[in-house]
Amino acid sequence: MTAVVPESSTSPASGLQQRLRDLVFSGKLAWVTLGLVIVAEFVVFSIAAPRFLSTTNLLNTGRATAVLMIVATGATFGLISGALDISVGSVMALSGTIGTQIVIAGYPASLAILAAIGSGVGVGLVNGFVVVKLRVNPLVATLGMLGIAFGLAFVVDGGSGVAGNLRQTTDAAYGVMKNDLVGIPLPLIFAVLFAAAGWVLLSQTRFGLYAYAVGGNASAGRSVALPVDRLRMMYLVFSGACAATGGYVLSSMLGGSGAASVPGTLVLTVVTAVILGGVGLLGGTGSMGGTILGVIVLGVLENGMTLAGWPTFYQYVVEGLLLMLAVGLDAVRTGGYR
């Protein structure tokens, strides 16, 4: 306890605001770098693949990146609050599978969507319970949940485990994300609104502010009477809900999805985007603006590499290296692992 006295002796509110101000200030440099990376990607890929710069392709990129944006929004809150949630890919699979099966069983799409997102809230509650009550490190808790939710998705799926055994639905309301609105893919519009809401939530509300407090210094938070455990639970629930929303959007775009529809590498992409965007691995730092840029970097990269004719597995390598680079930069900033 004595260790935290110097920090909490200043007024907590102004201390937090100062932290926030520092954060935005230091974040801007990283934003410029990410902006330059995006420009560089555009230059390289428009040379490597002439079709890259067409309106159709850019809209396609937006469509394909929308899900990543939605899931990354939740992961940003999670990681800022100090919880690296690696169960998000499995939660997406579970959510999409539950939604699909409910709509196939003949229930209305609204119920299916509600249940899909509800499954993410449920998983988040369990994750939160394990972290807060059983005091398990969030990484391990969500690693276990990765297996559990994935297994559950297969059970709901009918348990074949075969990727090609996807049961489609033609329900128009459930598959609404297949459509365009004034020429722009609906998932893209939805993701932009979602990210904007996340931005406001993170930078303008207490819910967002407390994420920094909990992740930056939990014991300082406790000493100013923040309900740290309840907040941690809420960020994990939020992360689960966002992942489930992403799972539904993917499922809707595909016209129904099963447990095997979510690529196993998705969690890598999400974590890379968020950390590339400046969220520190130890919690307490980061911003939605950075996450959005990180998502764009990766979305453009995936699309560009596909168009340039690189097989998917080269993308694993590139993304893995990118993640290491992102964390390496973070390590330079913070001193890193010792």
């Binding site: 398990v136 276990g144 297969f154 059970v155 691995l281 130890l282 692992y337």
Partner: protein, 331 residues
């Protein structure tokens, strides 16, 4: 992951600490686990006529062998305060390297040796990244998981192929009625116990993982230890990868999927700690046998593999929860 150092010298806690120590002595985790294993075995025996036959027990041991070898590497890394999520992909790279070389006409033994060396190189790279670039081992090895998966796919062009050669499939043979992988299990166990408990380096590893700052003050080269332990873990990944490829009789880039989950579960059940400085070969052995027995019994009870995955995930969370309870856990 975050700083979970226990508050130093808090006198009020000394009674609680003594109680915790007494509890740990009486209910040492692998003793409890052994009891759980016996209960589990009894249950399966009562439900399945076939369960407690020597053939099935040998089957469980055969499946335990590869898991144990790679789990021992995982344990060493945990003891030294690291983490390695890349083991599954590492095994896949090792397996496809050996398999592809063999298919290309390289002599069998040489192909296997190169496979094991590949594992050592992978371990060294993991250790180098973690110590040189100061990247958190969780993220470094998560990234490596995908890099290596990509490499395994690139080597095989994304295709799995059977290898129908009895020499290549040596891991399926029996010697004196005992499956070949079991001999590797014994060798690994002996080597690791010797390494950990009779050498100075092994004993220092516990200090390095338990309190790296104190170890530095005692003039230990923490980074060298960590580089070494990742490299040894790489050796184990290499051996396990070769055995797995041989057992499957195939070049399969997918073969390492979900291994980190099974291995982490076994090792945490066996009493190793996520915060470093704690873990044992015997604990890991009991943990691995427990997980593989669970697997074997559930499959024979015709429980679907997805449920097995759910059970394993739950077991891991409970193992860590149990482990963290006396120390206060994640705060």
């Amino acid at each position: 992951m975050t700083a979970t150092a226990t508050p130093p010298g808090a006198p009020l806690d000394s009674r609680a600490q003594a109680a915790a120590r007494a509890r740990r002595l009486l209910l040492g985790q692998h003793v409890l686990l052994l009891i759980a294993l016996i209960l589990l075995g009894t249950y399966f025996t009562s439900r399945l006529d076939f369960f407690l036959t020597s053939q099935n027990v040998l089957t469980i041991l055969r499946f335990s062998a590869v898991t144990f070898i790679v789990a021992t590497g995982f344990t060493l890394v945990l003891i030294g305060g690291g983490l390695d999520l890349s083991i599954g992909s590492g095994m896949a790279v090792v397996g496809v390297t050996a398999g592809k070389l063999f298919q290309a006409g390289v002599p069998l033994v040489l192909a296997f040796v190169i496979g094991v060396v590949t594992g050592i190189v992978i371990g060294f790279v993991n250790g180098y990244i973690v110590t040189r670039f100061r990247i958190n081992p969780l993220i470094a090895t998560l990234a490596m998981l995908f890099v290596l998966l990509g490499v395994a796919f690139i080597i095989t062009d994304g295709r799995s192929q059977q290898i129908r050669d009895d020499g290549f499939r040596f891991a399926r043979e029996n010697v004196g009625g005992v499956p070949v992988p079991v001999f590797f299990l014994i060798a690994t166990a002996v080597l690791s116990v010797v390494l950990l408990h009779t050498t100075k380096a092994g004993r220092h590893l516990f200090a390095v993982g338990g309190n790296p700052d104190a170890a530095r003050q005692a003039a230990m080269n923490v980074d060298r230890f960590r580089l070494g332990m990742y490299t040894v873990a790489g050796l184990y990944t290499g051996i396990a990868g070769v055995l797995l490829a041989s057992d499957l009789g195939a070049v399969a880039p997918n073969s390492g999927r979900n291994w980190e989950l099974y291995v982490a579960t076994a090792v945490f059940l066996g009493g190793a700690s996520l915060t470093g400085g704690r873990g044992s070969v015997i604990g890991t052995f009991v943990g691995v046998v427990f997980v593989r027995t669970l697997d074997n019994g559930l499959v024979q009870l015709a429980v679907r593999p997805q449920i097995v995955l759910i059970t394993v995930g739950t077991a891991m969370i409970l193992a860590v929860a149990f482990d963290q309870r006396p120390k206060g856990g994640f705060r």
